[in-house]
């Protein structure tokens, strides 16, 4: 069998899915997931938020049937049952690898060097390293019957960790980055071994005999206990020897934080204002948050002259996710101190922190596209929903009569587009040009108000146009690809001929014609390279367009909440395939054919 998957294949798994009798091939590609049975029939197709990086099949909720776990580039691990998403886990970076461990547990690895283990949907542990993970595997190294998580790192390290505690029980270093880790009975000893290969070609095998015996448990216990004693003594020392003289800070010094959304800065952003409650100065502040800075930490260290008891930090979260930010402030009485007290605190940025709440605009400023659905809810709950998901200024710009009328406008700091949310007489209306953001709002509303079903009516003419255009361009791009392929095969046939001819002329000692032939070869070769570049670009474009279509479909389906949503996705798929714009329009507008 030979199948071409136009989206490309990024991850593949073979296993029995939920209700299926036979194993299926599950393929993750460009925002889409497909499954085929042994005959090659497509038995499942669904969309996901971003490029799929890793797929595993396991029974995570212990209900006796397997679920599909998909890790993608948008930091999410989604759990599918058949084709319904039953859970989403947000991580801090792109998910590069997943592996199932014993019952209900799985390990994950992220692009930023994090490795961790989830037990069902609860994270048991995670560690972060400066090098990145190349490979995850499971193997019972210490022979205790429980499999350890084996990690192969880009810096050549291999380590084995207890899957429950994350404690390292073994480590080794190869001279090059790890290319792969496999488990197999290589020596035919009836017992599997762990085999590690580095990109330099080094192969090493491990089993329970690799663990050093002499590093007994007892010495470690003593070592740890003594160390603990030392730490306690130092802390005690800190309390007993803390003096009240000298360059310290008053005991009742507090650090005050305030999170606001600001448009006044050169670039609109989330503004974190730190200040002390007295004259103590802030020498420097580090902010630790994952996914919003280039690296994990952002440092503000003002110039000597500008040091004061207040400090402003600008934050620009690139994605709409709930963020924990850990702040560490160095507080002292004067900037020349050689000792500063460190205040540590954690604040949470709401999911939609990059949006400014503004008063409801005049009619002509309200965007034309909208989504509308019935919602039976008190307006007070709407206020609570707002405070949980947005940074609400002290003077709230919400317009409400306290009973059945509630409206607010939301301005995006990224592109300053306006989204208006109006709730009147049990009807919810969201006006926005941005279908993605609208879908996000619908989903957070549904989860906050625990709604099982939202049947909405939507009108996004522009999105529809986009979709039509994309479908058109996919068609042209696919045609282009065929044309290009044909021209490449023409050229290569010609080349073969010319090479034979050139050889003939050489044997006949006809240098003039041979040179001509070779010259032609050179020209055709050049042309082929150019053609190849065009093919690559064409393919690139095709992928982008396909991704766009998948995204639109996903967002459109996310405008509603429905447990039968997947039927709609299949309908979308059919409509896209048959280019039936009327059905597509209807699907986006009502969710039904």
């Amino acid at each position: 069998m030979d199948y071409r998957i136009p989206d490309g294949v990024a991850a593949i798994a073979i296993s029995k899915l939920n209700s299926m009798k036979d194993p299926a091939i599950i393929i993750g590609g460009n925002c889409s997931i497909q499954a085929f049975d042994y005959k090659g029939n497509e038995i499942l197709w669904t969309v996901t938020g971003d490029n799929v990086r890793s797929i595993i099949v396991m029974d995570i909720d212990l209900d006796g049937s397997n679920e599909l776990l998909v890790g993608s580039d948008d930091y999410e691990i989604r759990v599918f049952k058949d084709d319904i998403i039953i859970n989403e886990i947000s991580e801090t970076s792109s998910i590069c690898s997943l592996i199932s461990l014993s019952i209900g547990r799985f390990a994950y690895a992220l692009d930023n060097g994090t490795v961790g283990v989830y037990d069902k949907f609860r994270r048991m542990w995670r560690v972060k390293s400066k090098s990145s993970v190349n490979f995850l595997e499971k193997y019972d190294l210490d022979g205790d019957g429980k499999e350890e998580l084996i990690t192969g790192w880009s810096n050549g390290k291999v380590d084995a960790r207890n899957s429950i505690t994350g404690e390292v029980i073994f480590r080794d270093v190869l001279s090059n980055s790890i290319a792969g880790v496999v488990v197999g009975d290589y020596t035919r000893a009836g017992k599997c071994q762990l085999i590690v290969v580095s990109i330099g070609g080094e192969v090493r095998g491990y089993d329970s005999t690799s663990l050093k015996v002499d590093s007994g448990v007892q010495t470690n216990v003593i070592h740890d206990l003594l160390q603990k004693r030392q730490i306690l003594m130092s802390e005690l020392n800190n309390y007993t020897k803390a003096s009240n003289e000298g360059q310290g800070i008053p005991g009742d010094t507090r650090l005050i934080t305030e999170v606001s959304v600001s448009e006044e800065t050169t670039e609109p952003c989330v503004l974190l204002t730190l200040s002390t409650n007295n004259s103590m100065i802030l020498k420097a502040v580090t902010v630790f948050a994952e996914g919003i800075f280039e690296d994990e930490t952002h440092v503000v260290h003002p110039d000597r002259e500008c040091i004061s008891s207040e400090l402003k930090i600008t934050l620009l979260p690139p994605k709409d996710i709930l963020l924990d930010i850990h702040i560490r402030a160095f507080v002292g009485s004067s900037e020349d101190n050689d000792q500063f007290h460190v205040f540590e605190l954690t604040r949470q940025l709401p999911k939609f922190s990059m949006y400014l709440l503004v008063p409801y605009p005049e009619n002509e400023d309200v965007p034309k596209s909208f989504v509308k659905f019935r919602l039976v809810e008190r307006v007070q709950r709407m206020d609570l929903w707002l405070t949980q998901n947005f940074i609400v200024p002290q003077k709230t710009p919400v317009k409400t009569n306290g009973q059945d009328f509630w409206k607010i406008a939301i301005k995006s700091l990224r592109d300053s587009s306006l989204t208006c949310v109006m709730f009147e007489k049990e009807v919810m209306l969201i006006y926005s040009a941005n279908i993605n953001f609208t879908a996000d709002i619908v989903q957070t509303l549904a989860s906050y108000l625990s709604l099982d079903q939202i049947d909405s009516v939507a009108e996004f003419p522009k999105v529809l146009d986009d979709l039509r255009e994309s479908i058109q361009s996919v068609k042209t791009l696919q045609q282009n690809a065929v044309k290009l392929n044909a021209s490449i095969s023409d050229s290569s046939a010609l080349l073969k001929n010319l090479i034979v001819q050139a050889e003939d002329f050489r044997l006949l000692d006809d240098m003039f014609h041979m040179a001509k032939c070779l010259n032609d070869i050179f020209q055709i070769d050049k042309q082929m390279i150019q053609n190849h570049q065009v093919t690559c670009e064409n393919h690139e474009q095709l992928l982008v367009t396909l991704k766009k279509i998948n995204n639109i479909i996903q967002n459109a389906s996310r405008l509603r909440v429905n447990n039968n949503r997947t039927d709609t996705i299949t309908s979308y798929r059919q409509a896209v395939a048959s280019e039936n714009m009327t059905i597509l329009k209807k699907l986006i507008e009502t969710g039904n054919k």
Binding site: K130, Q230, L236, Y239, H301, F340
Partner: protein
Amino acid sequence: MELYRVDYTLLGMVSSNCMKVLPISQSDEAEKKTQKIIVGDQEGIVQMFQIRKGKINMLFKTLPLEKITEVCLGGALGTVQDKIFLSMGTSVRGYTKKGRMFLSFDTGLLESIKCMYVTGNELLVSGKHIFSHFNDCKDISTYLCPELINSILTLDVIKMQGIMPILACGDLCIRILEGSTVKETFYLSSEPTILHLMKNNGGSYGNEVLVGLQSGHIVLLKIEKNASTSILWELVTQSKQGAITCIDCYEFNGEDHLLIGRQSGSVEVYSLDSHSVPIEKYKYSCSESITSIQGGAIRCFGIPEIVVTTFTGWLFGLSFVDQHIDKEIVLESSNIILNDEKQKILDIRTEVSDLERQVAIERNKYLEFTQKSSRPSVLPYLAIKNSMFLDSEKLIYHLIIELEATIDNVLLQCNCSVNLIDVENNNNAVVSKSKCKEEDNNTLLITYRCQLNTTKLELKMWSHEGDQGILTLYITPLLQPKCCQVCKFPIKPLLYHQRTKKNIIYQPQSFMTLCGGFSLSEAHLWISNCLPGLPEKPASQENSEYSFESIILDTVLLCEYSRGSINIKTDNITAISILKDNFSRDATMKNIKLDMTYEISEGSLILMIDAIVSKLKTDIKNDKTLKLINAIKQLSVNPHTNGESLTKEYLIMVSNEDKLKQEVSQTPSRMQRLQAIMLALFDDWHKLRGLNVKPNSREDLQEALQTSNTLDSLISMFEL
């Protein structure tokens, strides 16, 4: 040789060489007892203990007093050396092995004692600069050393028929004294950090001294009665192994062994012989720097062991599991140990839970205090050991920070451009670079988030000569209440000049002279702001002379100054320009008028260009070759075509790839640095000579620096 580690205890902060193993007395030997250990810590507590059944058995312990800086063993010559001498502040105390104090003597030194050496009834002490010799507590001689004293000792008094003090000094030499005068100054390749008598007694003639160097090498010196010195051997190790912090000689299995502890945390055992370079027999690495090392049978009678203390106070032993030792003894003892260790664990557990309770009480008290009181809270300082030194082979600076407690995180800030090189193997910290805003005057903001149980952080970096600034480190230990400590390191503009031996005959062709109404200490300050390795105070009251060598270009810089005048002689035109700018800025700040004359000779320019070009050529060639190898390797996709299609020359090139890569990694980014130096030279030459730069010539030069065949004609781009 195989050894295994046994942790005995965690002592608290102990200074270097403050742990000693007492030689075994005859009565103990008869009773098959183990050797005793004596430790003097930074709180001032002296304790002597024995390891019995794996546990510490305290023999005596004094009350805390002042920080103990050195512990020596002594006694009447010819008897067992079991009298304990220790230095604290400016005084020296003596204890018997029973814990009775028999000596308390104030040396009257003007600074606190840093080094001490005792033999027979001779007592040698030194602070940072002052050395004193006492005989029976009577002052015999004193010597004021212009440089920092790192270590002192004297050769065997009987065999040498007299006392011959030797000082390891900061200006890369050892000074051999006679009375109060220097009889001989012997220069070494790197700064000597520690002195130790060969085989603990100076060898068969009592005149051999082991010297540990900053570069990590060890030298065996032979010193004659007339103080003439010669090197018997030099043990050259890879530079990354780190400076030597402690040395001991230990005889076991009928062989002499050299025990070495390093700052990098490695413990090494070598076979020792006067006539040949030692051979490594064993190596152990721990995560902290080693503060003292000794040999002795401390756990089981007759089984030799290496006893080590580390920076945060771990006392551990490395026991031999050697074939020559009766296996039964080992087995028997390890059985006992297992049972004993259980008891030991229980004991420590109780201690820890007691402490936890106590800490909880105090923590609440402190919390209460922070709720109510507005009185200032000042936390005690933690001991931080930091050192910054130059690796003259790799042309980079090493910065090592070591903390008494475990490090939580380190914030690095600098206001001049510094390039950090990632140290892959020594640090497990997660590095995070932060963006710098221009208005904050930062060029570098990096945080290191350390993994559990890190007490040491090592950084490597380089900067361009001429850049000047301060590197600030905010070190936060993992301790409540959280508090960070600040360490500052000046980045001096002429950081890649190193102090060198005094007698340089060669006279550089360019010079700069400054005259004006400045004092000697001002001149000293100005110079030490620019050049590294100068002592804190001027060496003499009238005229000081120092010579430096650029480790990148090998040019010499001679510096001579006195009250009202500074003379600089060098071929390094850029150095003159940097010094000129810095001196005039410092003088303007103090409102001192300077008379500045300088002459920049063409000879110097040619010399500089030659020095740069010769090195740049190899770098460019290596760079090109590596790029070529990369390309060639992509050609051979099919392994069968590999050998046929390439010429022999290319095949050799590819097979030498690893070697070449190794060679290039020895001097990280030297090519870029040399190119930058050449451009700086171009600018400075025209500036100092007052010449106008031809349009586009700087751009042309920049281009010419990229390829090796244009390098020979570089001189034509300079206006002469």
